[in-house]
């Protein structure tokens, strides 16, 4: 009770917590519940991916790829608000790197597809809609993945979708591309391309999707990729948790009522969970309304203020409202309007003067060398969301480490307040 009455405005940390662990620790929450999948970090010890398949990325590479994803999201929102959906038109402004937007800093879940079910590890993405996996015979191209590639011919419940089906035309909003139609079989052909020019093209299909032994979605619509290129890091494809009607969230409306929840673990060596359904959502959650629509896929939020060590930063609310905000499971580092980021880093630095500042780490410019100390005390950063909901960011969500000698404030600024 005393802790509630007197909020703690500081985190105390052991610097050893910045070191990676090789031991997987399972979450005690959400485990083995109905409608629940385990969430693991692709590069952590809880992932079953072999080191040969998923070569751990350098922190600089992860942050570079993260910027690619941000550019991709920005481009998609621009396209949507202009009413134009020609993804190709945005290529010139986007970095041309192979698959990196999807491949960095991502969390994966394992689902079962087909009859008998084939387990597939998919990237967990609230920033896109279409679920797809690589499919045999990989008519054009498949990248290397950890599990064997899904074979439609081995599933007794698999079928292709016809070009004339309404679900086929729904691909336009779900992928940003109009579907194609096979001249020989009238099968619906999907194509999805990400901002870095990685892509998947193949048959739009349906099959049985098994989340747990008691949670099965029959006739789940997904992309069966025959031409897949990019560095998806050994994952078999992508699980689209966006707002579009073809996302898994919308497709499982009857079973779970368009409610889902997740927890991303504090370290790559821990597991989290992804749970579908209202009954299993956290009872102690504080809610903020979605803000006005940010495209058809994204989940918009209204950020109103930021606190550092219990003190509210002097930032005009219009700084936040003019740019808007979304929540995304695939973007690593939170991006803020530069005016807000500047105030945040200044306040954070002012409370960290007893520690040694060190060189920047890619997009992160407030970094410390903690190699000469065993414990550190950092101010709690809190976000005030619409509805007057104040959420404290965990210590693990405040700093991003590249070893003990380079631990950085895990926030970055956009290029312009109007971004």
């Amino acid at each position: 009770a005393l802790e509630e009455a007197i909020p703690n405005h500081y985190h105390n940390l052991q610097t050893t917590s910045f070191l990676p662990s090789s031991i997987c620790t399972l979450s005690t929450k959400g485990d083995r519940k109905r409608g629940t999948l385990e969430v693991v970090h692709k590069h952590g010890p809880c992932s079953t991916f072999s080191k040969d398949m998923v070569k751990p990325l350098a922190v600089e590479d992860i942050l570079s790829h993260d910027q690619d994803r941000v550019e991709s999201i920005r481009s998609r929102l621009t396209i949507t608000t202009d009413g134009k959906r020609d993804i190709r038109g945005s290529k010139a402004t986007l970095p041309a790197k192979s698959g990196s937007t999807i491949g960095s800093g991502n969390y994966i879940v394992t689902v079962g597809l087909g009859t008998p079910k084939k387990d597939l590890s998919l990237i967990f993405d609230t920033g896109s809609d279409l679920t797809w996996t690589q499919c045999q015979p990989c008519a054009r191209s498949c990248y290397a993945q950890q599990e064997t590639i899904f074979a439609p011919s081995s599933s007794t419940t698999y079928s292709n979708i016809s070009c004339s089906a309404s679900e086929c035309s729904g691909l336009t909003s779900a992928t940003g591309n109009k579907p194609g139609c096979s001249a020989s079989s009238s099968a619906c052909i999907y194509g999805i391309q990400y901002g870095d020019q990685s892509f998947s093209v193949g048959f739009f299909a349906k099959d049985k999707l098994t989340l747990t032994s008691k949670d099965v979605i029959n006739d789940f619509y997904f992309g069966c990729g025959q031409n897949n290129q990019g560095l998806f890091g050994g994952a078999a494809g992508l699980l689209g948790l966006g707002r579009d009607k073809l996302s898994i969230v919308s497709q499982s409306t009857r079973e779970y009522g368009k409610v889902f929840s997740y927890c991303l673990p504090s370290r790559a060596s821990y597991t989290g969970y992804l749970t579908f359904g209202k009954d299993r959502a956290a009872s102690n959650a504080k809610y903020t309304p979605f803000s006005s629509s940010k495209g058809s896929s994204f989940y918009g939020l209204e950020l109103q203020a930021i606190f550092v060590g219990g003190s509210k930063l002097a930032i005009s609310p219009t700084v936040f409202s003019s740019s808007g905000m979304i929540i995304d499971s695939g973007t690593v580092i939170t991006r803020l309007p530069p005016t807000a980021y500047s105030a945040l880093s200044k306040a954070f630095r002012s409370q960290m003067t007893k520690y040694t500042l060190t060189k920047p780490l890619s997009i992160l410019d407030t970094c410390y060398d903690f190699s000469k100390t065993t414990t550190v005390t950092i101010p709690v950063i809190s976000m005030l969301w619409g509805g007057n909901i104040k959420v404290d960011i965990a210590a693990q969500g405040t700093l991003y480490a590249n070893g003990i000698d380079q631990v950085c404030l895990a926030f970055a600024g956009n290029g312009d307040d109007s971004d």
């Binding site: 979450s27 999201i73 409610v259 929840s261 959502a281 690593v332 960011i393 965990a394």
Partner: protein
């Protein structure tokens, strides 16, 4: 556009309730 990224979401239980038009945050969501 600002983006609330996955590092900052660590340890929070994040609840998406589309019919109600709201997102929830629960501290200690993984514990």
């Amino acid at each position: 556009i600002g983006i609330f990224g996955n590092v900052q979401q660590k340890t929070l239980g994040v609840v998406y309730d589309l019919p109600a038009g709201k997102v929830g945050f629960a501290p200690g969501g993984c514990a």
